[in-house]
């Protein structure tokens, strides 16, 4: 699984670039690199459904971000690097990595014990739903309730975006 780690290192590098670079457009492109790296990770871990969804959502979000940031000059504020803050960040990261390592080594290997409910789904999905793609069978039949929740989340977010960015309120606030 060496390629998995190579892509992971590239993603970490791209996210550091996205945070540190001053130009907004370059930052958005670096963010897109993180997303496409995640797509490749999903493909390598044999999850094509997730990979397709991640890919198209990444394209959409990069388009929206580029469209929203192109031609915008934000005042660049450099936070002065202080040695105290830096030391605190390093210590915190070290503590976090220490405990994360302690937790991660106790995890079972990847996909090793298939859970009872997962075994039931894998064994009976095709005859009980008629769908060959087991992911579709789970998200739209066995776990349809969760998908309903996700759909209502999307609905609420669309309403929220349209309410915040509606044209009627904007014209009033401009004050000619």
């Amino acid at each position: 699984m060496i390629e998995l780690h190579v892509i992971l290192v590239l993603m970490i590098a791209a996210s550091i670039v996205a945070m540190e670079i001053e130009d907004l457009l370059s930052s958005v492109i670096a963010l897109g690199a993180v997303g496409f790296g995640l797509t490749l990770e999903f493909l390598l871990l044999k999850a094509p459904d997730l990979a397709i969804t991640q890919l198209v959502v990444e394209i959409l979000s990069v388009i929206i971000l580029i469209r929203a940031t192109v031609g915008v000059k934000l005042p660049a504020e450099r936070i002065k690097a202080r040695i105290g803050y830096f030391a605190f960040a390093v210590v915190f990261a070290g503590v976090f990595l220490f405990f994360a390592h302690k937790a991660v080594v106790q995890l079972p290997p990847f996909g090793e014990p298939i859970m009872k409910i997962g075994r039931e789904y894998i064994a009976s999905a095709m005859e009980r739903t008629g769908a060959v793609n087991i992911v579709s069978a789970i998200i739209l039949d066995f776990r349809g309730y969760d998908t309903l929740g996700e759909a209502s989340i999307l609905f609420t977010s669309v309403i929220g975006v349209l309410a915040v960015l509606r044209a009627a309120g904007k014209k009033k606030g401009k004050a000619q």
Binding site: T53, V56, G130, N133, S136, A137, D141, Y145, L148, L162
Partner: protein
């Protein structure tokens, strides 16, 4: 960056060909969601992307000619409602989200009962919703930009 004119001639010519292909691919991903990877969500995002492609190349009016604002809000609500109605119809056979249609033979296009209908409902909802978000986020702020410049 004028709102109505869109991009250059080359972009417009290529867009005229590629938009229909992207649209077709979205429908393919949708209809084969229960056989191959993909499904309603991915198909819906691809459809939204095809309309976004149109908006970016031709400007906002060209896309609104094909897809009016009222139609987007209607489709968004209708998709969510259709999904809920499919779920409630499951009560006819016993419980919420029951797959009450005939399952058909696996590996065929029209199999898997309600799953394909749910996919279509989510497809309509996601496509309309994300296109509306794009219009709101990326298009409504252009007048402000022009005032500044």
């Amino acid at each position: 960056m004028k709102e109505t004119s869109g991009m250059s001639l080359i972009v417009k010519r290529v867009t005229r060909i590629s938009v229909s292909l992207i649209f077709l691919y979205g429908v393919y991903i949708l209809l084969h969601g229960h056989i191959t990877p993909g499904g309603g969500f991915a198909g819906g995002v691809i459809i939204a992307l095809s309309f976004i492609h149109l908006v970016l190349a031709f400007g906002r009016e060209a896309a609104f000619k094909r897809l009016s604002h009222e139609f987007i809000s209607l489709a968004e609500s209708a998709g969510g409602l259709m999904f809920l109605i499919i779920a409630v119809l499951g009560f006819s056979g016993g419980f919420f989200f029951l797959n009450f249609l005939r399952h058909g033979t696996p590996f065929e296009l029209f199999s898997s009962g309600t799953i394909i209908l749910c996919n279509i409902a989510i497809f309509i909802k996601v496509g309309a919703g994300l296109f509306a978000i794009f219009i709101a986020l990326a298009m409504l702020r252009i007048p402000i930009e022009q005032e500044k410049g």
